[in-house]
Chain length 278, copies 3
Amino acid sequence: MLGIDYIKESIFINAKGAFSMTDPVLINLDQGVLTVTFNRPEKKNAMTNGIYDQINEAISRAEHEAQIKVVVLTGTGDFFSAGNDIADFMTQPPEGETSPVVKLLLRLANTDIPIVAAVNGPAIGIGTTILLHCDKVYAVDSAFFSTPFVTLGVVPEAGSSLLMPKYLGYQMAARLLMFAERITAEEAKDCGLIGHLCAVDQLTEVVAEEARRIAKLPKKTIRQAKRLMRRNEETLTDRIVYEMEQFGEALRSAESKEAMAAFVEKRSPNFAQFDTEA
Amino acid sequence: MLGIDYIKESIFINAKGAFSMTDPVLINLDQGVLTVTFNRPEKKNAMTNGIYDQINEAISRAEHEAQIKVVVLTGTGDFFSAGNDIADFMTQPPEGETSPVVKLLLRLANTDIPIVAAVNGPAIGIGTTILLHCDKVYAVDSAFFSTPFVTLGVVPEAGSSLLMPKYLGYQMAARLLMFAERITAEEAKDCGLIGHLCAVDQLTEVVAEEARRIAKLPKKTIRQAKRLMRRNEETLTDRIVYEMEQFGEALRSAESKEAMAAFVEKRSPNFAQFDTEA
Amino acid sequence: MLGIDYIKESIFINAKGAFSMTDPVLINLDQGVLTVTFNRPEKKNAMTNGIYDQINEAISRAEHEAQIKVVVLTGTGDFFSAGNDIADFMTQPPEGETSPVVKLLLRLANTDIPIVAAVNGPAIGIGTTILLHCDKVYAVDSAFFSTPFVTLGVVPEAGSSLLMPKYLGYQMAARLLMFAERITAEEAKDCGLIGHLCAVDQLTEVVAEEARRIAKLPKKTIRQAKRLMRRNEETLTDRIVYEMEQFGEALRSAESKEAMAAFVEKRSPNFAQFDTEA
């Protein structure tokens, strides 16, 4: 219900001209709030390089258009995002700083635009790690969160290896990043991954109202506060770049190749074959 | 009730000689515990430059008098503190490192004296940020907490932009510092801004008892532990100074001037006039 | 019950040959899980230099034997560990980087082996601080946690002065490290010192099952994730070494000498005698 109603509203309100309901990202500007809606519900809003580019572009637009005060990230359908689209990922894996996902992450790490997330369902992989770059996160009670990088033979991204221990506490970070566990919306709120729980039929309205309130606060001041809060000793930018180096190595590892092959061949991965290496 | 009883007790016990009940800060030393009571209940214990000087002096005294083991901060009346006294603030805004509030903050950031707060009611602005420099905070159930700097066109102070993300988690810090939200005592306990909830009629007694217990622990050792715990990579001192530079800039901004003017003219601020700037 | 059953199982399964039930540390390898059991129940599993050496050796073994994926730390009897064995400690206090406890701590700070703790009862002193180096901690509901260094005139160790403020929040860290408070298992879970509460009769089974699950995840990848998560600005190694310098000073202090003497003479320590020093 949420998804359909939301899209309808977007289509009617959107000032930039009509777009197809099949666009993978919907963009809507209303009263200073730029809403970016992941719109591949049939693929659980799995992210492609094209989608990363569009989100990046939307935030860049918010930085350059004076009337945009807040960005809202949300999804249509039952999932917030199932993470990377594996097929798209395998044809064009991210390695350098110029790949779309890394460009998006560096933008998120360095922007001072307030970003609110309305998590309309489960958030997997980058669906969860992107929340670490949001300033306020609402999630429906039925959402769950998971970053199962390790089961794919790859390492944490999006600076999550820095931000999760710092913001969620070490052991919660380990549950997500080392042990590939799924946590509930309740647990996510307790540890601070999200800030607010919300009934599914109220999410759109509650977030829209809060975003409009934020849009009325003095724009420059709020951004100055965000820049102060995001100031790091080891900058997040350095960490994201370092993680990507590690990610590149991990991606060339036997573990990752086995995980990917198993996925394609629809079988369980055999990690035990690597046990003889210390 | 709390306020009156407490003052009476202070007046009778105080060893430094009598003082008027209208002194804006009451100082009381008893069994190694130096209690500093904000005492402008008719102004909700709003802070003036004079009050900052007196608190600073009290902590300095604790550092130099061998028999003082613990400092307790509390307030008379229904408020802990409503924050800066705007009238006093506007006649003598803090800018350099020699202004009373900055001198107090630098003292708090660098002292190794154990500091306990007994939050007897709502804590606004520096009433909240000062708690980040306390080692143990009790608050009454009815207290609430708010740092609405952004609505005044100014930025976080007291190192709160460093300490809140670090101690409370990023999104809770954002609720307070970016979005000017008010949080309840319950929420404050959940995120670690305070350590203990307390019924209003028990606050004085509970805190006094705990302070006396702390006063009996080995003084030097406890201070050594505090120094270790407060060791920073980017020192808190650097952050407080950097925030004040930003604060000075923010204070000269159109947003801040508009907020202050609106306050004086008893009207809503018009921040929308600045929307055309990117 | 737990202790006895557990030992029996260990004795039967252990592949390295038989050992006496009176060994102070039991080592058991099963399905990639190396279980290290503190086994001085009559001394509440108080730690000696010999025990530190054995734990250190076990983790070193895990680093070098390819088939070991996870280390589990647990105890027999009613206590997880009562901390340092005072008698052993006083005959051979830790000072340099070559003392067994410091060698163990540096190993824990730098290993990338996943470590799970099954806290079978109260955890005191290093019984608590060692948990900061574990990636996942289960504890029985009846456990409690305490690091009363200050009452002994000594300072925090194991990097706890760095990790507790960072992972548990500052005020919870202060309760433990400055104010020598005892916290419940419930409080420990709320602040993130432990990750999971567990009924006492299920602890062994629940932890064993989870450890076996972890053992099946790709070994190299999980270690890469841990290394990323443990990357520090001020390295933990630097902090542990710095704490030990402070510890050495504290140990030679009058406060510590008084605490130790009082312990030996079975009397209350008199810390008030040092009050005249500022």
